[in-house]
C-alpha cells in the first residue's frame, strides 16, 4: 500500500558527488570536498601515529616507522601534499571570490548567457596551473628521493 503522500526526492550527500553534466567549477567543488575530507582523515591518522605509537617506547616507534617506509605510503604522502596544494590554493580562490571580489559586476542577461564565475575562469585556470606546478614539483621530489 502506498503512503499517498509526496515522495521525497532530495539527493542528500549523493548530491555533493553527483555532478551531472555540469562544467569545470562544479567538479572543482567536488574535488575540494574530497581533498578536505582526505586531509582530515590523514590528520587523524598522523596524530594517531605520532602520539599513541610514540609514547609506547622507542622499539614500537621504530617498527612503526619502518612499516610505514614503503612505496605505498610514499605514494600516499605524495597524494597528501598534492591534496594540500589543491585545497589550499583553491580555498584561497574561494575566499576571494566568495567575498564578492574578482567576480565582476552583474551584466544584463543577453543570450547566450554567461555567468560571473565562468567569465572570470582565467582566475580559476591560473590557480589550477599553480596547483599543477606544485604537484609536479612534489612528484619529482618524491621520485628523486625514491618511493621506498
Amino acid at each position: 500500500m502506498a503512503d499517498k503522500g509526496p515522495h521525497q526526492n532530495y539527493l542528500g550527500m549523493w548530491g555533493w558527488v553527483w555532478g551531472g553534466n555540469y562544467k569545470l567549477e562544479r567538479y572543482l567543488y567536488l574535488l575540494h570536498r574530497i581533498t578536505g575530507l582526505g586531509l582530515l582523515l590523514f590528520g587523524l591518522f598522523h596524530l594517531t601515529v605520532t602520539t599513541i605509537f610514540r609514547v609506547q617506547g622507542e622499539a614500537i616507534w621504530s617498527s612503526t616507522i619502518s612499516f610505514l617506509d614503503n612505496p605505498l605510503f610514499r605514494v600516499g604522502e605524495f597524494l597528501v601534499v598534492a591534496a594540500f596544494s589543491y585545497h589550499a590554493l583553491n580555498g584561497l580562490r574561494l575566499i576571494i571570490q566568495e567575498l564578492g571580489f574578482a567576480l565582476g559586476k552583474p551584466v544584463p542577461p543577453i543570450y547566450p548567457f554567461t555567468d560571473a564565475i565562468r567569465r572570470k575562469r582565467a582566475w580559476t585556470l591560473v590557480t589550477l596551473a599553480a596547483i599543477m606546478v606544485l604537484a609536479v614539483a612534489f612528484f619529482i621530489d618524491f621520485t628523486v628521493r625514491g618511493w621506498g
Binding site: A2, D3, P6, Q8, Y10, E25, G100, F113
Partner: protein, 275 residues
C-alpha cells in the same frame, strides 16, 4: 536533420503515483520528433496519444512561466525551452527536479521554494509608509543603479537552480540560490531601505554562509540570472556591514509628481489655432 524528417525517439520517463507507488519507476514511450520539436511537445504527444495519466506542469510554453522545469538527461532544463535535437541521442531520460518532493510523475512540490522566497521579503521596503500605501510619484534611479540588480529581476522561480545546488541536496532548510539571489536583488535596489531586515535573515544558519560556490545554479539558470554571483555579492555586503565598512547611500528620492513637473526646455505655445 531535414525540416520534415520524422525520427522516433524514446522518452524514458520517471513515473510516480502517490496513490499506487511506493517509489518511482521508469516507463518508456516512443515519440515521433522532427527538427525543432521541444521536449515539452514530446510530453504533450505522450499525454494526447499514449498515456493520458502522465503528469507534468506546463503553461506558457515559451520559457517565461517557469512551470516545466525537469531533469532531462541528468541536467535541469525547461522542457519547453529545450529541443530534442540538442541531445544528439535517440533516448531521453526525464526525471522530476531533485531537491524537492515529487507530487506525481514529473511534478515537483515547489512549496519550499516559495516559502524561502517569501522569507527574504522580496519587495521594496521603505520607511515612508504613507508613500508606499498611497504613491504620488515614482522614485528616481540612475541607469547605473538599475544595472546593479537588473540581472536578478529575470528570475522566473522555476527551481532549476535548487535542483542544481549541492547544498540544497543535503540541507532542506537551506534558503537556496533562488531566495538568496532575490535577497541580493532587493538589497541592491537603490529604492529599498530594507537591507537590515534581509541581512538579519540571510546571516543566520542555512543561509548565505552555507553556499559553497559550486556555481551550478548559475550554469543551470535558463534566464541568465546568475544567482551564485548574487549570493557572493550579498555575502560581501553582510561581511562589510559586520566589519562596519559598508558604504551606505541615501535611498532614492521621489520624483516630482507629473502634475507639478515643469518641462526642462520651453515648449512653445500653439501658434496656430487648432480647427
Amino acid at each position: 536533420m531535414n525540416n520534415d524528417a520524422v525520427k522516433k525517439i524514446t522518452f524514458r520517463v520517471q513515473r510516480f503515483d502517490p496513490e499506487k507507488d511506493r517509489k518511482p519507476h521508469f516507463q518508456e514511450f516512443t515519440v515521433p520528433v522532427k527538427r525543432g520539436t521541444t521536449v515539452m511537445e514530446g510530453l504533450l504527444y505522450i499525454k494526447e496519444n499514449l498515456d493520458s495519466s502522465l503528469a507534468f506542469r506546463t503553461s506558457c510554453r515559451m520559457g517565461v512561466c517557469g512551470s516545466c522545469g525537469m531533469l532531462i538527461n541528468e541536467y535541469p532544463h525547461l522542457a519547453c525551452h529545450t529541443q530534442v535535437e540538442e541531445f544528439h541521442s535517440d533516448k531521453l531520460t526525464l526525471k522530476p527536479l531533485p531537491n524537492m518532493a515529487i507530487i506525481k510523475d514529473l511534478v515537483p512540490k515547489l512549496d519550499t521554494l516559495f516559502e524561502h522566497h517569501k522569507s527574504v521579503k522580496p519587495y521594496i521596503i521603505r520607511e515612508d509608509k504613507e508613500e508606499m500605501e498611497k504613491p504620488t510619484a515614482g522614485y528616481l534611479q540612475k541607469p547605473q543603479q538599475l544595472d546593479e540588480y537588473l540581472q536578478f529581476t529575470y528570475c522566473i522561480k522555476c527551481g532549476l537552480c535548487i535542483a542544481a545546488c549541492p547544498t540544497s541536496a543535503s540541507d532542506k532548510a537551506f534558503l537556496g540560490p533562488q531566495a538568496l539571489g532575490q535577497a541580493y536583488r532587493y538589497c541592491a535596489d537603490s529604492r529599498d531601505e530594507g537591507q537590515d531586515f534581509r541581512y538579519a535573515i540571510v546571516e543566520k544558519d542555512h543561509a548565505v554562509w552555507n553556499c559553497h560556490f559550486a556555481a551550478a545554479c548559475s550554469e543551470a539558470c535558463p534566464k541568465g540570472v546568475d544567482p551564485a554571483l548574487g549570493i557572493q555579492l550579498l555575502r560581501k555586503g553582510v561581511a562589510a556591514k559586520a566589519l562596519g565598512i559598508k558604504k551606505t547611500a541615501a535611498p532614492a528620492t521621489l520624483a516630482t509628481p507629473p502634475a507639478l513637473a515643469k518641462p526642462k526646455i520651453d515648449v512653445p505655445e500653439f501658434t496656430v489655432e487648432p480647427k
